[in-house]
């Protein structure tokens, strides 16, 4: 009897520690997800009100060309922009870490600085520079008599957004890589030098394997970031409304479904499907990235 009471008390003690976290976790993580799933099972119409439709919304999403074309667009963005950005970030991190750079802390701060600029401001700023009539692009064309392509036209817009994102996030990724590089013990380099290894050999044999975890993390962050692309296209849309459609990215599509069309239910469905796809891809990358360690 007494033993039972003790055991019960012990189990409650545990909950008392975890409880506050669990409450917050349930409120801010689980509740919104549960509510979205709940929303996605209904359909509200201007005429006829709300009705339960089961999985109809999911069926619609899976056959919605707007959704798939937006997913295709961010996937293309992911495949092209993320490797470029991570490569530049890695290069910069290695350069700063090599200790052969004068004023390395200056470079570190300068390259990180764009990350401190709010995404909205960055998009506005670049939007102005891309302007083909009175923007920087126009000035360059005037000055040199060039005819650079209109960076806000449908065929260039994705590259233009990729450029903004690279500018914004290279510094952030550089910092992740750099901090990982700083944790490598100096003794490893010393022994490598004794073995006659050059700088390049040190990179391939010591640095890269050592920051593999950081590379995987940065890649996953970038995948999620690409799939959630929203700020930049949303701001540039005002300058290039014909190039950036309302279903340009999955997030933009969900936003417009919800706020222009009041299709809250379908919007929740698109968000959930997109969330699942992102999770699956991020998980696969993590599995592959951390395998054979």
């Amino acid at each position: 009897m007494a033993e039972l009471a003790v055991r019960r008390r012990r189990s409650w003690t545990g909950w008392r520690f975890v409880g506050p976290f669990m409450v917050v976790f349930a409120l801010v993580f689980l509740a919104p997800i549960a509510y979205s799933i709940y929303l996605s099972l209904f359909k509200t119409r201007l005429i006829g009100g709300t009705s339960f439709v089961g999985l109809d919304n999911y069926q619609q999403a899976l056959t919605d060309p707007s959704f798939w074309s937006s997913l295709g667009r961010v996937s293309l963005f992911l495949v092209v922009q993320v490797p470029i950005m991570l490569f530049i970030a890695l290069l910069v991190a290695l350069a700063i870490d090599s200790g052969r750079l004068h004023g390395s802390s200056f470079f570190r701060v300068t390259i990180f600085l764009p990350y401190a600029v709010p995404a909205v401001v960055a998009a506005l700023m670049w939007g102005f520079m891309y302007g083909s009539q009175f923007g920087l692009l126009a000035s360059i064309n005037d000055q040199f008599g060039w005819s650079l392509p209109d960076l806000l036209s449908p065929s260039w817009i994705l590259a233009s957004i990729g450029n903004i994102n690279t500018w914004e996030f290279t510094g952030y990724n550089m910092l992740i890589f750099y901090s990982a590089l700083r944790t490598i013990p100096g003794s490893l380099y010393e022994s490598a030098e004794i073995d006659g290894a050059g700088e390049f050999r040190k990179i391939t044999a010591i640095k890269l394997p050592a920051i593999r975890g950081a590379l995987v993390v940065a890649t996953i962050f970038s995948i999620i970031g690409s799939f959630q692309l929203f700020n930049e296209p949303s701001i540039l849309q005002q300058l290039a409304p014909n190039a950036i459609t309302t279903d340009f990215t999955p997030n933009l599509y969900a936003y417009n479904l919800s706020f222009s069309g009041q299709q809250y239910n379908y919007s929740a469905t698109v968000a959930i499907v997109m969330g699942i796809i992102t999770m699956v891809i991020a998980y696969v990358v993590q599995l592959r990235g951390t395998k054979e360690r």
Partner: protein, 450 residues
């Protein structure tokens, strides 16, 4: 915070309404859209006055800048009323905020500024009070026909017109004189002028356009097109009608020959273009002058206003572009008080305050006021531009109606018709795609599509 007082006030207002009794609603139902019958008046003018004297709190969501002064004067006149005027965003941004509030069922303002094109959508969702209950029908003669028809939807009156936008052609006289181009009287002449100007200087365009739903619908309106048919829950769209074709003929040529500056309206580049003469004209609503003064100041003295070019030589047809109303939300805690504010701002003393500060009126008395007509605009080189606008207001083609899903429809305009501006897609195909996508949405929302 003030919900309690508001509720108590409403109770008082309702009680007095009962004692005074139901006043008959005088006006007959002459709404162009037809449908339901007008609700009887249940709140009298005396009730409204009593509510104003009793005071209370009002939340107003509006972006119209002149309302700030109106609110100040209103509170001076009715010291017990506290108006909380909030600008939650312009146009579509405000509608997003409103939709969110309606969806959540809380945080809903008492009064909201809503443009004419968006009014049917909110009315249909039963988010707005039918002002017939306050006897608004008796105000019909005080407003111009265009704006008044715009606040009528299916027999209900869902707002009081605040301003209107009869269209005019604003043009940069300096540019037109420089290239010896006459101010176009017809759209055909406009096309010729566009060619002449752009040929003379490839950096100068007669106008900018990257696809603007409001502009296109207004242009079709002027041409006498009636692509939208709305009858209760039945909607139809037909962009193959004659009026639309008239517009397409002119505009497709302008697009194909690249005679329009690829600059989006309201962007930074746009204001620069208007100010520095590289955008030589602009066909838009009569509410534009205040924007010229504030955002394209260096163009002052160079611009003039002219009548809108015609599709048929010698015609006087015009259309509305933009313009908005103040509406009372269905859940407004102090609706009687809110109506008092509406009348003050859009029909009473507030009209003069707003007009003096550059707003374009919707009230017929102002349009006939010689003082107003004789106002000289410095920006337009001393021209009495209001005469042009008043004439346009009288020429607005009747019978136009927007869709009850116009907010959504306009949001996908650039997805569909926009393609015509940046690719080989024709305007006709673009309009067809717009029509299809809008009708699909309407069907999905439970409308019967013809």
């Amino acid at each position: 915070m003030s919900a309690l007082t508001r509720r108590r006030l409403l109770g008082a207002a309702l009680a007095s309404a009962v004692t005074i009794g139901l006043a008959a609603c005088g006006s007959d139902d002459d709404s162009s859209t037809g449908g339901g019958t007008a609700a009887a008046q249940s709140v009298s003018d005396a009730d409204v006055e009593a509510a104003l004297q009793a005071g209370g709190n009002l939340t107003v969501w509006a972006w119209e800048p002149t309302l700030t002064k109106v609110v100040a004067e209103f509170q001076k006149k009715y010291p017990k009323v506290k108006v909380n005027l909030a600008n939650v965003g312009t146009s579509a941004d405000q509608y997003t905020a409103l939709q969110n509030a309606f969806q959540a069922g809380s945080g809903i303002p008492d009064v909201a500024q809503i443009e004419y094109y968006a009014l049917p959508q909110f009315a249909l969702q039963k988010n707005l009070k039918d002002l017939n209950a306050f006897g608004a029908a008796s105000l019909k003669d005080q407003y111009n026909t265009g704006p008044w028809n715009s606040v009528n939807s299916g027999g209900g009156i869902y707002g009081l017109p605040m301003d209107s936008g009869p269209m005019a052609l604003f043009y940069n006289k300096e540019v037109f004189d420089k290239y010896k181009v006459e101010v176009p009287k017809t759209w055909t002449e406009f096309l010729e002028a566009a060619r002449t100007i752009h040929k003379a200087d490839p950096k100068v365009y007669i106008a900018n356009d990257t696809g603007d739903a409001g502009f296109v619908t207004s242009m079709i309106w002027q041409a006498g097109g009636k692509p939208y048919t709305v009858d209760g829950e039945n909607v139809g769209i037909n962009f193959a009608d004659a009026g639309t074709q008239e517009f397409v003929k002119v505009w497709q040529t302008l697009i194909s020959e690249k005679l329009l500056a690829p600059i989006t309206s309201w962007s930074d580049q746009w204001f620069q273009g208007l100010a520095n003469g590289s955008i030589a004209s602009l066909a838009t609503g009569a509410w534009m002058p205040a924007n010229f003064v504030t955002s394209a100041a260096s163009g002052s003295g160079k611009w003039r206003a002219a009548e809108l070019p015609q599709y048929t030589a010698g015609g006087t047809a015009s259309a509305e572009n933009g313009g908005s109303s103040l509406a009372i939300t269905e859940k407004a805690a102090a609706s009687t008080l809110a109506y008092g504010f509406l009348k003050y701002a859009n029909q009473g003393d507030g009209v003069k305050i707003r007009v003096d500060n550059g707003a374009f009126p919707a009230t017929s008395a102002t349009l006939n006021d010689p003082n107003w007509l004789n106002t000289e605009f410095d920006y337009f080189g001393g021209q009495k531009a209001n005469e042009v606008f008043a004439k346009s207001a009288q020429g607005v083609v009747s019978g136009w109606t927007y869709l009850p899903v116009q907010v959504y429809s306009n949001s996908v305009f650039n997805d569909t018709v926009g393609k015509a501006y940046v690719s080989n897609t024709t305007l006709t195909d673009g309009l067809k795609a717009w029509q299809d996508q809008t009708l699909n949405y309407a069907k999905d929302q439970g409308f019967t599509v013809k």
